[in-house]
Amino acid sequence: MSDGTNARHVKIVGSYWMRFSLRTGGGLTALLLALVTGLGVAQAFITPVENLMKEAPKLGHSEGEAADSIATIAESNEIAGALKWITGLGESEIEYLVTDQPALLSVIWIFLLAFIPFLTVLSAFNQTAGDIGNKGLRYLLLRTERSNIYLGRSVGTLLFSTGSLLLLLGLVLVYVGLKLKLYPFGDLASSGMHGFLALFFLSLPYIAMCGWFSAMFESAFGSLAICLLVTGFPILGLKMVNWATESDLAWMEQLTPWGWKYDLLSGDMGARLLAYGVMLGFTAVFLVLGMRQFQKRDL
């Protein structure tokens, strides 16, 4: 490429950055928080199901009957109503998530989607800010171009974040598959892939956004504070305005990746592909802005 971008250099910087992330306090804390928060969310839904299945034999019911009861509860109007209220999805979408897909896993993915932007920020806020502050990047600049450093660190952060996600989803799927035995393997694999893609695509724009802010600041803490603020404040602000004025400004959420997150789980392939496309679009915009910022700043 004309600006000196070199795929080999990006790969080297990326793989080093992914491994280095574990050596940093921020990376290790992000991994622990991702696992503990993710497993905590899953636990909130798996434990009641587990207790129900454990108590069933004592009440004279088989595990199969308990599993049927769980399916009946999952497909009930109350659950559908609650999910509709939380996600704002239509009835057919909710029906798809609780009847066509394993309901327990769908609920876990829905709640994880609300946590992923914040967990992603924790693993992506310090792509360059810390090294800009301590002037460490000038040694790297002797060996490669700015674009390779920026893209390499974005790729490394993506790999680290995806690794944490795969570990989390793997643990949940293996447990639900081997211990609870509620769903056939095919359903688990399909829901697992569905959930993983949704969480993966949602994390992309936040990694790129954090990269942009990280290139703007000379302090890792400053970058973290701004990234968390920009991720959380618009959503909180919109919800408060909606609540206070009783107006319907929910469409404004769609100006951010947050507003598209539940479309990533849609049963309608067109809507899902559109949501994937929107996430890639946000990612591209943030990546270009971040790259421009990094190219012209004093290192």
């Binding site: 574990l22 050596r23 921020g26 290790l28 804390t29 622990l32 497993l39 434990t47 447990y175 211990k179």
Partner: protein, 146 residues
């Protein structure tokens, strides 16, 4: 790795160790509270007493309360020592004792699961010891050499 150049991850592990050490210490003190409660439960009559006794039996009973108290006391000490070891980048105090604490924690959890059965909540308890064991013996292996 150069002496004195402590990676941020190792410092984070040390801080987490200190926090878990304090929790383990509280767990040890909690054992005495449980034992005091059990005396009351043993003499409680009626359905409430029966339900409480059944709940205790299902979570392992008297022996497991004592065992977890002892393990908590041990973990509080080992986590504290290994945390200091991480900060000073010590091989024995950090890597050896840290790995030992993680193995003891895992073995106790496995024994508990074998007795009372697996629950998803227990999975969260595996995260830290497994990560510690992996990180101390791979990522931070060459940092704990003093």
């Amino acid at each position: 790795m150069a002496e004195g150049k402590r990676p941020g991850g190792l410092t984070a592990l040390a801080v987490i160790n200190f926090v878990f050490s304090a929790f383990s210490g509280l767990g040890f003190l909690g054992m005495f509270v449980f034992l005091a409660m059990m005396k009351t439960i043993e003499t409680t009559e009626g359905q409430a007493g029966e339900d409480a006794r059944r709940a205790i039996d299902e979570t392992g009973g008297y022996d497991w309360i004592i065992a977890s108290g002892v393990v908590n006391a041990l973990m509080a000490v080992l986590l504290l020592i290994s945390g200091i070891g991480y900060l000073k980048q010590k091989r024995v105090m950090g890597r050896m004792i840290g790995s030992g604490a993680a193995v003891i924690n895992l073995l106790f959890s496995l024994a508990f699961i074998a007795t009372v059965g697996m629950q998803f909540a227990m999975l969260v308890g595996f995260v830290y010891p497994v990560l510690t064991l992996i990180l101390l013996n791979t990522t931070f292996k060459d940092d704990l050499i003093n």
